[in-house]
Protein backbone atom coordinates (compact mmCIF):
# COMPACT_ATOMS: atom_id res chain seq x y z
CA UNK A 1 0.00 0.00 0.00
CA UNK A 2 1.30 3.42 -0.90
CA UNK A 3 2.07 5.73 1.98
CA UNK A 4 -0.08 8.50 0.53
CA UNK A 5 -3.20 6.32 0.77
CA UNK A 6 -3.31 7.11 4.44
CA UNK A 7 -4.23 10.78 4.06
CA UNK A 8 -7.41 12.66 3.31
CA UNK A 9 -8.38 16.12 2.12
CA UNK A 10 -10.79 17.28 4.82
CA UNK A 11 -11.02 21.00 4.18
CA UNK A 12 -11.25 23.03 0.98
CA UNK A 13 -12.07 26.70 0.48
CA UNK A 14 -11.99 29.05 -2.51
CA UNK A 15 -12.02 32.77 -1.80
CA UNK A 16 -15.23 34.26 -3.24
CA UNK A 17 -13.54 37.48 -4.40
CA UNK A 18 -12.02 37.92 -7.84
CA UNK A 19 -10.84 41.47 -7.17
CA UNK A 20 -9.44 42.43 -3.76
CA UNK A 21 -7.89 45.92 -3.87
CA UNK A 22 -8.50 46.54 -0.16
CA UNK A 23 -6.91 43.36 1.18
CA UNK A 24 -3.24 42.58 1.73
CA UNK A 25 -1.67 39.44 0.31
CA UNK A 26 -1.15 38.10 3.84
CA UNK A 27 -4.80 38.79 4.68
CA UNK A 28 -5.94 36.81 1.64
CA UNK A 29 -3.75 33.86 2.69
CA UNK A 30 -5.22 34.15 6.19
CA UNK A 31 -8.82 34.30 4.97
CA UNK A 32 -8.48 31.17 2.85
CA UNK A 33 -6.75 29.35 5.72
CA UNK A 34 -9.65 30.17 8.05
CA UNK A 35 -12.14 29.19 5.36
CA UNK A 36 -10.55 25.76 4.91
CA UNK A 37 -10.38 25.23 8.69
CA UNK A 38 -14.07 26.09 9.05
CA UNK A 39 -14.92 23.75 6.19
CA UNK A 40 -13.00 20.93 7.90
CA UNK A 41 -14.34 21.68 11.37
CA UNK A 42 -10.81 22.14 12.72
CA UNK A 43 -9.17 25.07 14.49
CA UNK A 44 -5.91 26.90 13.96
CA UNK A 45 -4.28 25.16 16.89
CA UNK A 46 -4.77 21.80 15.12
CA UNK A 47 -2.38 22.83 12.32
CA UNK A 48 1.14 21.48 12.73
CA UNK A 49 2.27 21.51 9.10
CA UNK A 50 2.26 24.45 6.65
CA UNK A 51 2.80 24.32 2.89
CA UNK A 52 3.17 27.30 0.55
CA UNK A 53 4.83 28.26 -2.73
CA UNK A 54 6.17 31.38 -4.43
CA UNK A 55 3.00 33.44 -4.01
CA UNK A 56 3.43 34.05 -0.25
CA UNK A 57 4.97 37.34 0.86
CA UNK A 58 8.58 36.93 1.97
CA UNK A 59 10.92 33.99 2.17
CA UNK A 60 9.29 30.58 2.15
CA UNK A 61 6.89 29.95 5.04
CA UNK A 62 8.34 32.48 7.53
CA UNK A 63 6.04 35.46 7.19
CA UNK A 64 2.78 33.52 6.87
CA UNK A 65 3.58 31.21 9.79
CA UNK A 66 4.29 34.37 11.78
CA UNK A 67 1.21 36.28 10.51
CA UNK A 68 -1.10 33.37 11.39
CA UNK A 69 0.84 32.70 14.61
CA UNK A 70 1.10 28.98 13.84
CA UNK A 71 3.06 26.39 15.78
CA UNK A 72 4.43 24.06 13.12
CA UNK A 73 6.74 21.06 13.18
CA UNK A 74 6.80 20.58 9.42
CA UNK A 75 7.04 23.15 6.58
CA UNK A 76 7.50 22.83 2.81
CA UNK A 77 7.73 25.73 0.35
CA UNK A 78 8.55 23.76 -2.79
CA UNK A 79 7.75 26.03 -5.73
CA UNK A 80 6.85 24.48 -9.07
CA UNK A 81 4.72 27.44 -10.11
CA UNK A 82 0.97 26.98 -10.31
CA UNK A 83 1.18 23.21 -9.82
CA UNK A 84 2.80 23.64 -6.40
CA UNK A 85 -0.35 23.10 -4.32
CA UNK A 86 -1.09 19.76 -5.97
CA UNK A 87 2.49 18.74 -5.19
CA UNK A 88 2.01 20.05 -1.64
CA UNK A 89 -0.93 17.70 -1.07
CA UNK A 90 1.36 14.84 -2.15
CA UNK A 91 4.14 16.05 0.15
CA UNK A 92 1.69 16.60 3.02
CA UNK A 93 0.44 13.04 2.68
CA UNK A 94 4.04 11.78 2.74
CA UNK A 95 4.87 13.89 5.80
CA UNK A 96 1.75 12.66 7.61
CA UNK A 97 2.56 9.04 6.73
CA UNK A 98 6.08 9.59 8.07
CA UNK A 99 4.71 11.01 11.32
CA UNK A 100 6.11 14.49 10.71
CA UNK A 101 2.75 16.26 11.10
CA UNK A 102 -0.94 15.54 11.63
CA UNK A 103 -2.85 18.43 10.09
CA UNK A 104 -1.35 20.15 7.05
CA UNK A 105 -2.53 23.54 5.75
CA UNK A 106 -1.80 24.52 2.13
CA UNK A 107 -2.55 28.10 1.02
CA UNK A 108 -2.48 30.09 -2.22
CA UNK A 109 -3.36 33.75 -2.66
CA UNK A 110 -2.59 36.68 -4.93
CA UNK A 111 -3.85 40.03 -6.13
CA UNK A 112 -2.42 40.48 -9.65
CA UNK A 113 -5.64 42.09 -10.87
CA UNK A 114 -5.41 44.86 -8.32
CA UNK A 115 -1.66 45.24 -8.72
CA UNK A 116 -1.77 45.38 -12.52
CA UNK A 117 -0.22 43.14 -15.14
CA UNK A 118 2.46 44.29 -17.59
CA UNK A 119 1.20 44.87 -21.12
CA UNK A 120 2.20 42.33 -23.76
CA UNK A 121 2.28 39.42 -21.37
CA UNK A 122 4.22 38.39 -18.32
CA UNK A 123 7.91 37.68 -18.72
CA UNK A 124 8.48 34.50 -16.80
CA UNK A 125 12.24 34.21 -16.36
CA UNK A 126 12.72 35.04 -12.73
CA UNK A 127 16.33 36.18 -12.39
CA UNK A 128 19.40 36.97 -14.51
CA UNK A 129 21.24 34.51 -12.25
CA UNK A 130 19.38 31.64 -13.89
CA UNK A 131 21.68 29.77 -16.30
CA UNK A 132 18.95 29.82 -18.96
CA UNK A 133 18.14 33.55 -18.74
CA UNK A 134 20.58 34.83 -21.38
CA UNK A 135 19.45 32.18 -23.87
CA UNK A 136 15.72 32.93 -23.74
CA UNK A 137 14.72 36.32 -22.33
CA UNK A 138 16.61 38.53 -24.85
CA UNK A 139 14.56 37.04 -27.69
CA UNK A 140 11.29 38.34 -26.23
CA UNK A 141 10.14 35.15 -24.55
CA UNK A 142 6.83 35.51 -22.73
CA UNK A 143 4.50 33.00 -21.11
CA UNK A 144 2.03 33.56 -23.93
CA UNK A 145 4.37 33.12 -26.90
CA UNK A 146 6.02 29.96 -25.57
CA UNK A 147 2.64 28.30 -24.97
CA UNK A 148 1.73 29.48 -28.46
CA UNK A 149 4.78 27.70 -29.88
CA UNK A 150 3.60 24.49 -28.17
CA UNK A 151 0.18 24.88 -29.80
CA UNK A 152 1.77 25.61 -33.19
CA UNK A 153 3.92 22.48 -33.04
CA UNK A 154 0.99 20.30 -31.92
CA UNK A 155 -1.02 21.56 -34.90
CA UNK A 156 1.92 20.80 -37.20
CA UNK A 157 2.45 17.26 -35.97
CA UNK A 158 -1.14 16.17 -35.36
CA UNK A 159 -3.41 18.44 -37.37
CA UNK A 160 -4.95 20.00 -34.28
CA UNK A 161 -7.03 23.07 -35.17
CA UNK A 162 -7.86 26.44 -33.60
CA UNK A 163 -11.50 25.39 -33.67
CA UNK A 164 -10.72 22.35 -31.50
CA UNK A 165 -8.81 24.53 -29.02
CA UNK A 166 -11.77 26.92 -28.96
CA UNK A 167 -14.06 24.11 -27.76
CA UNK A 168 -12.02 23.99 -24.53
CA UNK A 169 -12.92 27.61 -23.80
CA UNK A 170 -16.53 26.99 -24.81
CA UNK A 171 -16.80 24.13 -22.29
CA UNK A 172 -15.25 26.26 -19.52
CA UNK A 173 -17.70 29.08 -20.23
CA UNK A 174 -20.67 26.69 -20.14
CA UNK A 175 -19.58 25.55 -16.69
CA UNK A 176 -18.84 29.08 -15.45
CA UNK A 177 -22.40 30.29 -16.14
CA UNK A 178 -23.48 28.18 -13.14
CA UNK A 179 -20.77 29.53 -10.81
CA UNK A 180 -21.97 32.76 -9.14
CA UNK A 181 -18.38 33.69 -8.20
CA UNK A 182 -16.89 33.12 -11.67
CA UNK A 183 -15.28 36.13 -13.30
CA UNK A 184 -16.64 35.38 -16.80
CA UNK A 185 -20.15 33.93 -16.64
CA UNK A 186 -21.37 34.39 -20.20
CA UNK A 187 -21.17 31.30 -22.44
CA UNK A 188 -19.10 31.87 -25.57
CA UNK A 189 -19.19 30.14 -28.96
CA UNK A 190 -16.39 28.61 -31.03
CA UNK A 191 -16.80 31.50 -33.47
CA UNK A 192 -16.40 34.07 -30.70
CA UNK A 193 -13.17 32.44 -29.55
CA UNK A 194 -11.78 32.24 -33.08
CA UNK A 195 -12.84 35.80 -33.90
CA UNK A 196 -11.25 37.21 -30.76
CA UNK A 197 -7.96 39.04 -31.21
CA UNK A 198 -5.04 36.90 -32.41
CA UNK A 199 -2.49 37.64 -29.68
CA UNK A 200 0.28 35.12 -30.39
CA UNK A 201 -0.28 32.75 -33.30
CA UNK A 202 -2.15 30.44 -33.08
CA UNK A 203 -3.62 31.59 -29.75
CA UNK A 204 -6.47 34.11 -29.56
CA UNK A 205 -7.38 36.32 -26.65
CA UNK A 206 -10.11 33.91 -25.57
CA UNK A 207 -7.65 30.98 -25.59
CA UNK A 208 -6.03 32.65 -22.55
CA UNK A 209 -6.94 32.44 -18.87
CA UNK A 210 -8.24 35.32 -16.83
CA UNK A 211 -6.31 37.43 -14.31
CA UNK A 212 -7.96 37.42 -10.89
CA UNK A 213 -7.30 38.19 -7.25
CA UNK A 214 -8.17 35.78 -4.47
CA UNK A 215 -6.94 32.36 -3.50
CA UNK A 216 -7.75 29.06 -1.87
CA UNK A 217 -6.65 26.59 0.76
CA UNK A 218 -6.91 22.89 1.54
CA UNK A 219 -6.32 20.84 4.67
CA UNK A 220 -4.84 17.34 4.63
CA UNK A 221 -4.90 15.03 7.63
CA UNK A 222 -4.53 11.43 8.76
CA UNK A 223 -7.49 8.99 8.72
CA UNK A 224 -7.98 8.84 12.51
CA UNK A 225 -8.65 12.59 12.51
CA UNK A 226 -10.50 12.64 9.20
CA UNK A 227 -13.03 10.01 10.31
CA UNK A 228 -14.04 12.14 13.30
CA UNK A 229 -14.89 15.14 11.13
CA UNK A 230 -18.31 15.78 9.61
CA UNK A 231 -17.29 16.24 5.97
CA UNK A 232 -17.35 13.50 3.31
CA UNK A 233 -14.03 11.64 3.16
CA UNK A 234 -11.83 12.38 0.15
CA UNK A 235 -8.85 10.03 0.10
CA UNK A 236 -5.54 10.72 -1.63
CA UNK A 237 -5.27 7.47 -3.52
CA UNK A 238 -2.38 8.30 -5.85
CA UNK A 239 -0.02 11.25 -6.20
CA UNK A 240 3.09 12.06 -8.23
CA UNK A 241 5.16 14.90 -9.62
CA UNK A 242 7.73 15.46 -12.34
CA UNK A 243 9.78 18.15 -14.08
CA UNK A 244 10.35 18.55 -17.82
CA UNK A 245 12.92 20.94 -19.33
CA UNK A 246 14.92 21.78 -22.44
CA UNK A 247 17.08 18.64 -22.13
CA UNK A 248 20.28 20.12 -23.54
CA UNK A 249 18.46 21.12 -26.72
CA UNK A 250 16.39 17.96 -27.29
CA UNK A 251 13.20 19.99 -27.46
CA UNK A 252 9.77 18.36 -27.89
CA UNK A 253 6.95 20.84 -27.33
CA UNK A 254 4.10 18.36 -27.87
CA UNK A 255 3.96 16.92 -24.38
CA UNK A 256 4.44 17.91 -20.75
CA UNK A 257 5.83 16.43 -17.55
CA UNK A 258 2.26 15.26 -16.95
CA UNK A 259 3.12 12.21 -19.02
CA UNK A 260 5.33 11.07 -16.13
CA UNK A 261 3.41 12.39 -13.10
CA UNK A 262 0.14 11.08 -14.53
CA UNK A 263 1.42 7.57 -15.18
CA UNK A 264 2.99 7.39 -11.72
CA UNK A 265 -0.13 8.69 -9.93
CA UNK A 266 -2.42 6.26 -11.77
CA UNK A 267 -0.03 3.39 -11.01
CA UNK A 268 0.01 4.28 -7.32
CA UNK A 269 -3.78 4.57 -7.25
CA UNK A 270 -4.20 1.28 -9.12
CA UNK A 271 -6.73 2.84 -11.51
CA UNK A 272 -6.76 3.65 -15.24
CA UNK A 273 -7.59 6.93 -16.98
CA UNK A 274 -10.75 5.30 -18.33
CA UNK A 275 -11.97 4.89 -14.72
CA UNK A 276 -12.05 8.69 -14.31
CA UNK A 277 -15.18 10.70 -15.15
CA UNK A 278 -14.13 14.07 -13.70
CA UNK A 279 -10.76 15.83 -14.01
CA UNK A 280 -9.55 19.27 -12.98
CA UNK A 281 -6.81 20.16 -15.47
CA UNK A 282 -4.75 23.32 -15.43
CA UNK A 283 -5.96 25.72 -18.09
CA UNK A 284 -3.58 28.64 -18.37
CA UNK A 285 -4.40 28.41 -22.06
CA UNK A 286 -6.70 26.12 -24.02
CA UNK A 287 -3.70 24.23 -25.38
CA UNK A 288 -2.55 23.38 -21.84
CA UNK A 289 -5.71 21.32 -21.34
CA UNK A 290 -5.28 19.56 -24.67
CA UNK A 291 -1.69 18.50 -23.97
CA UNK A 292 -2.51 17.32 -20.44
CA UNK A 293 -5.47 15.21 -21.64
CA UNK A 294 -3.04 13.33 -23.89
CA UNK A 295 -0.27 13.14 -21.30
CA UNK A 296 -2.57 11.70 -18.63
CA UNK A 297 -3.85 9.08 -21.05
CA UNK A 298 -7.46 10.29 -21.29
CA UNK A 299 -6.98 10.05 -25.06
CA UNK A 300 -4.28 8.88 -27.44
CA UNK A 301 -1.29 11.06 -28.18
CA UNK A 302 -2.21 13.52 -30.92
CA UNK A 303 -5.96 12.86 -30.53
CA UNK A 304 -6.65 15.63 -28.02
CA UNK A 305 -8.31 17.79 -30.66
CA UNK A 306 -10.98 15.22 -31.43
CA UNK A 307 -11.40 14.46 -27.71
CA UNK A 308 -12.33 18.06 -26.82
CA UNK A 309 -14.34 18.95 -29.95
CA UNK A 310 -18.11 19.46 -30.03
CA UNK A 311 -18.44 20.27 -26.35
CA UNK A 312 -17.35 16.87 -25.06
CA UNK A 313 -15.65 18.38 -21.99
CA UNK A 314 -18.97 19.85 -20.81
CA UNK A 315 -20.36 17.88 -17.87
CA UNK A 316 -22.82 15.28 -19.13
CA UNK A 317 -21.79 15.57 -22.78
CA UNK A 318 -18.79 13.23 -22.94
CA UNK A 319 -16.88 10.55 -21.05
CA UNK A 320 -14.87 13.10 -19.02
CA UNK A 321 -16.10 16.36 -17.50
CA UNK A 322 -13.29 18.92 -17.09
CA UNK A 323 -13.09 22.04 -14.88
CA UNK A 324 -16.75 22.29 -13.91
CA UNK A 325 -16.11 25.49 -11.92
CA UNK A 326 -15.20 27.28 -15.14
CA UNK A 327 -11.48 26.81 -14.55
CA UNK A 328 -8.79 29.40 -14.98
CA UNK A 329 -10.23 30.23 -18.38
CA UNK A 330 -13.45 31.65 -16.88
CA UNK A 331 -13.73 31.26 -13.11
CA UNK A 332 -10.56 32.07 -11.19
CA UNK A 333 -6.78 32.21 -11.66
CA UNK A 334 -5.47 33.82 -8.46
CA UNK A 335 -1.77 34.79 -8.43
CA UNK A 336 -1.54 33.49 -12.03
CA UNK A 337 -1.53 30.02 -10.46
CA UNK A 338 -4.13 27.37 -11.17
CA UNK A 339 -3.29 24.34 -9.03
CA UNK A 340 -5.27 25.18 -5.90
CA UNK A 341 -8.61 25.75 -7.60
CA UNK A 342 -8.06 22.45 -9.45
CA UNK A 343 -7.96 20.56 -6.14
CA UNK A 344 -10.94 22.46 -4.72
CA UNK A 345 -13.31 21.69 -7.61
CA UNK A 346 -12.26 18.02 -7.62
CA UNK A 347 -13.11 17.88 -3.89
CA UNK A 348 -16.49 19.57 -4.55
CA UNK A 349 -17.25 17.01 -7.25
CA UNK A 350 -16.34 14.06 -5.01
CA UNK A 351 -18.41 15.45 -2.14
CA UNK A 352 -21.36 15.95 -4.49
CA UNK A 353 -21.17 19.69 -3.80
CA UNK A 354 -20.55 20.98 -7.30
CA UNK A 355 -23.38 23.02 -8.86
CA UNK A 356 -26.23 20.61 -9.71
CA UNK A 357 -26.02 21.63 -13.38
CA UNK A 358 -22.41 20.40 -13.60
CA UNK A 359 -22.25 17.72 -10.88
CA UNK A 360 -21.08 14.34 -12.22
CA UNK A 361 -23.48 11.69 -10.87
CA UNK A 362 -22.31 8.97 -8.47
CA UNK A 363 -18.70 10.06 -8.72
CA UNK A 364 -16.13 8.18 -6.65
CA UNK A 365 -12.85 8.96 -8.45
CA UNK A 366 -11.43 12.27 -9.68
CA UNK A 367 -8.13 13.67 -10.91
CA UNK A 368 -6.59 17.06 -10.10
CA UNK A 369 -3.61 17.90 -12.28
CA UNK A 370 -1.46 20.97 -12.77
CA UNK A 371 1.39 22.32 -14.87
CA UNK A 372 3.53 25.04 -13.31
CA UNK A 373 6.12 27.17 -15.05
CA UNK A 374 6.37 27.19 -18.82
CA UNK A 375 5.13 24.37 -21.02
CA UNK A 376 7.67 25.39 -23.69
CA UNK A 377 10.80 25.62 -21.53
CA UNK A 378 10.85 24.29 -17.95
CA UNK A 379 7.86 23.23 -15.91
CA UNK A 380 6.66 20.97 -13.14
CA UNK A 381 3.62 18.72 -13.23
CA UNK A 382 1.73 17.28 -10.30
CA UNK A 383 -1.14 14.79 -10.36
CA UNK A 384 -3.58 13.63 -7.69
CA UNK A 385 -5.99 10.71 -7.97
CA UNK A 386 -8.68 11.29 -5.34
CA UNK A 387 -11.37 8.91 -4.10
CA UNK A 388 -14.66 9.47 -2.29
CA UNK A 389 -14.87 6.94 0.55
Amino acid sequence: MAAVEHSYIVGAYEHPLRKAPDRSLAQLHGEVALGALADAGLSKSDIDGYFCAGDVPGTGPFSMVDYLNLKVRHVDSTNIGGASYILHVNHAAQAIAAGKCNVALVTLAGRPRSEGVPKGGLKRADSPAQPDYAWETPFGMTILNTYAMCAKRHMHEYGTTSEQLAWIKVAASHHAQHNPNAMLRTPVTVEEVMNSQLVADPLHKLDCCIVSDGGGAVIVTRPEIARNLKRPLVKIRGAAESVKHTAGGDIDLTYSAGRFSGAAAFAEAGVRPSDIRYASLYDSFTVTVLVQLEDLGFCERGKGGAFVADGKLISGQGPLAVNTDGGGLCNNHPAHRGGMTKIIEAVRQLRGEAHPAVQVRDLNLAVAHGTGGMLGTRHGSATLVLERM
Binding site: P128, G248, G249, L253
Partner: protein, 127 residues
Protein backbone atom coordinates in the same frame (compact mmCIF):
# COMPACT_ATOMS: atom_id res chain seq x y z
CA UNK B 1 23.46 47.57 -16.20
CA UNK B 2 21.02 45.69 -18.41
CA UNK B 3 19.48 42.46 -17.20
CA UNK B 4 21.22 40.60 -20.03
CA UNK B 5 24.62 42.02 -19.09
CA UNK B 6 23.91 40.99 -15.51
CA UNK B 7 23.04 37.50 -16.74
CA UNK B 8 26.28 37.32 -18.74
CA UNK B 9 28.25 38.41 -15.69
CA UNK B 10 26.78 35.41 -13.88
CA UNK B 11 28.27 33.09 -16.54
CA UNK B 12 32.03 33.57 -16.83
CA UNK B 13 32.30 30.15 -18.49
CA UNK B 14 30.23 31.43 -21.43
CA UNK B 15 32.04 34.73 -21.98
CA UNK B 16 33.80 33.34 -25.06
CA UNK B 17 30.46 32.73 -26.79
CA UNK B 18 29.48 36.40 -26.52
CA UNK B 19 32.88 37.90 -27.39
CA UNK B 20 33.12 35.63 -30.45
CA UNK B 21 29.52 36.41 -31.45
CA UNK B 22 30.35 40.12 -31.34
CA UNK B 23 33.14 39.33 -33.88
CA UNK B 24 30.68 37.54 -36.15
CA UNK B 25 31.42 33.96 -35.11
CA UNK B 26 28.71 31.63 -33.78
CA UNK B 27 30.01 28.88 -31.51
CA UNK B 28 28.43 25.72 -30.15
CA UNK B 29 29.47 23.80 -27.09
CA UNK B 30 30.48 20.18 -27.77
CA UNK B 31 31.36 17.39 -25.40
CA UNK B 32 34.63 15.62 -26.18
CA UNK B 33 33.48 12.53 -24.27
CA UNK B 34 30.18 11.83 -26.06
CA UNK B 35 30.85 14.14 -29.09
CA UNK B 36 27.38 15.66 -28.92
CA UNK B 37 26.59 19.35 -29.20
CA UNK B 38 24.19 20.84 -26.64
CA UNK B 39 22.23 24.05 -26.07
CA UNK B 40 22.33 26.29 -24.05
CA UNK B 41 26.12 26.15 -23.56
CA UNK B 42 27.41 24.63 -20.33
CA UNK B 43 30.75 23.66 -18.80
CA UNK B 44 29.24 20.26 -17.96
CA UNK B 45 27.72 18.16 -20.75
CA UNK B 46 23.96 17.77 -20.06
CA UNK B 47 23.91 14.51 -22.04
CA UNK B 48 26.68 12.47 -20.39
CA UNK B 49 27.76 14.68 -17.45
CA UNK B 50 31.35 14.93 -18.68
CA UNK B 51 33.19 18.13 -17.75
CA UNK B 52 35.24 17.86 -20.97
CA UNK B 53 33.45 20.38 -23.19
CA UNK B 54 34.82 22.69 -25.88
CA UNK B 55 33.69 25.46 -28.24
CA UNK B 56 33.48 24.66 -31.94
CA UNK B 57 32.38 26.87 -34.86
CA UNK B 58 28.77 26.22 -35.92
CA UNK B 59 27.20 26.49 -39.37
CA UNK B 60 24.50 28.96 -38.33
CA UNK B 61 22.03 26.93 -40.35
CA UNK B 62 18.91 25.18 -39.19
CA UNK B 63 15.16 24.78 -39.58
CA UNK B 64 12.18 26.30 -37.78
CA UNK B 65 10.95 23.85 -35.12
CA UNK B 66 8.13 26.15 -33.99
CA UNK B 67 7.37 29.86 -33.88
CA UNK B 68 4.79 32.42 -32.81
CA UNK B 69 4.18 36.03 -33.77
CA UNK B 70 3.68 38.27 -30.75
CA UNK B 71 0.96 40.39 -32.38
CA UNK B 72 0.25 42.80 -29.53
CA UNK B 73 3.86 43.96 -29.16
CA UNK B 74 4.90 47.09 -31.04
CA UNK B 75 6.36 46.25 -33.37
CA UNK B 76 5.16 42.64 -33.54
CA UNK B 77 8.01 40.10 -33.51
CA UNK B 78 8.61 36.41 -34.08
CA UNK B 79 9.81 34.14 -31.28
CA UNK B 80 11.00 30.75 -32.49
CA UNK B 81 12.72 27.51 -31.72
CA UNK B 82 15.26 26.62 -34.43
CA UNK B 83 16.76 23.15 -34.75
CA UNK B 84 20.39 23.68 -35.76
CA UNK B 85 21.97 21.44 -38.41
CA UNK B 86 24.34 20.32 -35.62
CA UNK B 87 21.42 18.87 -33.64
CA UNK B 88 20.30 21.02 -30.71
CA UNK B 89 17.17 23.17 -30.80
CA UNK B 90 17.57 26.75 -29.52
CA UNK B 91 15.20 29.59 -28.71
CA UNK B 92 15.72 32.65 -30.93
CA UNK B 93 13.95 35.33 -32.91
CA UNK B 94 13.23 35.27 -36.66
CA UNK B 95 13.96 38.64 -38.29
CA UNK B 96 13.83 40.21 -41.80
CA UNK B 97 11.30 37.60 -42.97
CA UNK B 98 7.68 38.21 -44.01
CA UNK B 99 5.30 36.81 -41.41
CA UNK B 100 3.21 34.97 -43.99
CA UNK B 101 6.30 33.19 -45.39
CA UNK B 102 7.11 31.57 -42.05
CA UNK B 103 6.41 27.87 -41.57
CA UNK B 104 7.63 25.02 -39.41
CA UNK B 105 10.41 23.14 -41.22
CA UNK B 106 11.61 26.07 -43.34
CA UNK B 107 15.41 26.54 -43.51
CA UNK B 108 16.87 29.56 -41.71
CA UNK B 109 20.31 31.15 -41.39
CA UNK B 110 22.04 33.06 -38.63
CA UNK B 111 21.90 36.86 -38.40
CA UNK B 112 23.87 38.56 -35.64
CA UNK B 113 22.12 41.73 -34.50
CA UNK B 114 22.18 43.87 -31.42
CA UNK B 115 19.26 43.56 -29.03
CA UNK B 116 17.60 46.31 -26.97
CA UNK B 117 20.63 46.77 -24.71
CA UNK B 118 23.25 46.80 -27.48
CA UNK B 119 24.51 43.25 -26.95
CA UNK B 120 24.72 41.20 -30.18
CA UNK B 121 22.29 38.26 -30.26
CA UNK B 122 22.12 35.09 -32.39
CA UNK B 123 18.98 35.64 -34.52
CA UNK B 124 17.80 33.94 -37.73
CA UNK B 125 16.13 34.78 -41.04
CA UNK B 126 14.57 32.62 -43.73
CA UNK B 127 17.36 31.18 -45.89
Amino acid sequence: MSALQEALDHQPENQKFWTELAEGRFLLKYCTACQRAHWYPRAICPHCASAQTEWRPASGRGRIYSFSISRTASPPYVIAYVTLDEGPTMMTRIVHSPFDALAIGKPVELVIEKGEDGIPLPLFRLA
